[in-house]
Amino acid sequence: MNKKNTLFRAGCVALAMGMLLSGCGSNSGANKDNGDGNKDNKTTIRMSWWGNDDRHKATLAAIKKFEEKNPDIKVKAEYAGWDGFQEKMTTQIAGGTNPDLMQINYDWYQAFSPDGNGFYDLNKLKSIIDFSGYSKETLEPGEVNEKLNGISCSDNGSVIVLNKTTYDKFGAEIPTDWDGFVEAANKFDEGYYPLIAPQVEFMMINIYLSQKTGKAFLSDDGKIQVSKDDLQDGFDWYQSLIDKKIVPTGKEVLEIAGKSDLSTVKEFIEGKIAGCMTWPAQVSSLESVLEETNQELVVAKFPTIEGAKTSGIIKKPSMLWSISKDTKHPKETAKLLNFLINDPDGIKALGTTRGVPSNENGFKILKDDGKIDGVSEDLFDYVKNTDGITESPFFERAQISEVYQDATEAFTLGEIDSEKAAEQTISGIKETIKTINNK
């Protein structure tokens, strides 16, 4: 009697489960798409990206235009916010289920394709993708072992933006060199700072070193190109900025800004922190939050030290377009890629939601379209026209950035001195590069 009832119950559960699985199975059958669906003579390709609402809307509009021009191709859009995207992409690549066209962060793709075979070699699709708007330099970052793994979508270059309203308030001029910043610091009241570089202190040091030596901190194949003495000098130089009250102390930076967006920091919104070093992509949020209180943000010339060999600003692609190495529709995917980077309709639809286009042709189309103005236009010009040093793909890889971020944090908090900081950074990076290359 006992067993009969329990068996019956277990049977019910099993039946329900079976129904659920088959129900979901048929659902998934109808919607399933691994890029090789062929519905109604249409080829379906999958595309993924991350972004915010503006970028989603713009990209969906661009896709629509593409589908109008190519009625035999359907694009399935898979998009989300930034949070968690790296996990999702990593899981997909590990499981071999990644989409055909992917937007990839510059910091990741080297890990995904250490030998150059992680993504489809875009050189093979030269007949479909027009590379004329790209120079050798702009294509280089996407190359691994001479295979073109990704094509740079937009450019990034370290930029300094300043809160003109605060500077005006204290009668300080917008600085064009470091002396200008010293002057501003002297004119500012207690509690006001001309500049901040939260989470990017080491980048600033890097730029200083590049100006001094003419070389990037890390070479493209992971070798450290500055001496320990130079690096120690770099840390000392940053300390001098703190001492001259150009930037807040390490402790203050953590307490005020922590590790979050500067546009969400009270002191920045109130104008107490009157400037920062950042990437162009971040500028729109800074600009908009200051606009709300009628403060003005301007793009400054990146200050150079005396006798600087180069402006030193770090340049890198902010994101690249890559094609899946297992794609079943390379030609159709290449068409989509070409549309997004070359076709005027595509470029206008995307607008500035991905920043400054790396493609010269695309850049011109957007500029002529006239929709860029104000700070965005200044930014565009700045990035295009300032010579800098291309960042090594190793530089912002998580394992390596952890080394110098930890050293910088300990240094700015006063736990270690500049010599130890330099030592720790160099030995830590050397070891990490060795581990990465020993795969």
């Binding site: 790296q86 990593t90 953590l254 005020i256 922590g258 394992q399």
Partner: protein
Amino acid sequence: MKKEQKKVKGKRKYTGLIYIAPWLIGFCIFTLYPFISSLVLSFTNYDLISKPKFIGIDNYIKLFTGNKEFTKSLIATLKYVVLTVPAQLVFALFIAFILNFKLKGINLYRTAYYIPSILGGNVAVSILWRFLFSGNGLVNQILETIGLKSVGWLSNPTAAMLCIAILKVWQFGSCMVIFLAALKEIPTELYEAAQVDGAKKWTIFFKITVPLITPTIFFNLVMQLVNGMQEFNAPYLITQGGPLKSTYLASLMIYENSFKFYKMGYASAMSWVLFIIIMLLTTILFKSSNKWVYYADEGE
């Protein structure tokens, strides 16, 4: 009487297995398989892209030699557990007891206390906590108003640990709700009988209520310990393990090694070390439970 009981027990010998059959099947498919996979991976240098290569116990050795980062992380995790688990249990039990009375509007209060724990790892929490604990945040402003010095919550290693501990204790709601359920299971006749005998409130609490809910206290203790050892959201959202890795809890380190550094094999080894530590702590708790937990189904 006894003969009937024996007959009943005899039939029930294998009935139990049938009841847990679904669990057993699920365990083999959904739990055993990934567990064994990750154990195997811990002996490799799997980086998610290339095929895993067997490297023996190298990962485990690396964990405890070299820069001892994992050891520091484990210690930070233990500190976190010691700070949060007792505090949570005490608050939860205390408040649950207070909320167990039939006051008007008690339901509203219960909801109010429970809401923080609903937030969990919600993105709003990170905004909120920074707003409260930044240099000029609300907490420091209050401290200064009452004449104390403001604290560098996010820049001072000890304070940062406190900051994320407070977040966890603030979310004691789920513990409290479980205690509420347990308190409700105590038959009211017991209370009435005790009152008749003239027992005072606190005597009732300590001699009747607490012993009867020891199974639940034990449950909450074990669960909070296990959850605390694997805490991820608080350091991830608020401090990212800083400053100076003072809040670099084990789960955060494991996560970064898997999905940021792509050292999946190494991360798996870390997880299994964590597993063993949690297992040891829990076993100790279970063994001790024989001394202080009273189960009504075991007779007196």
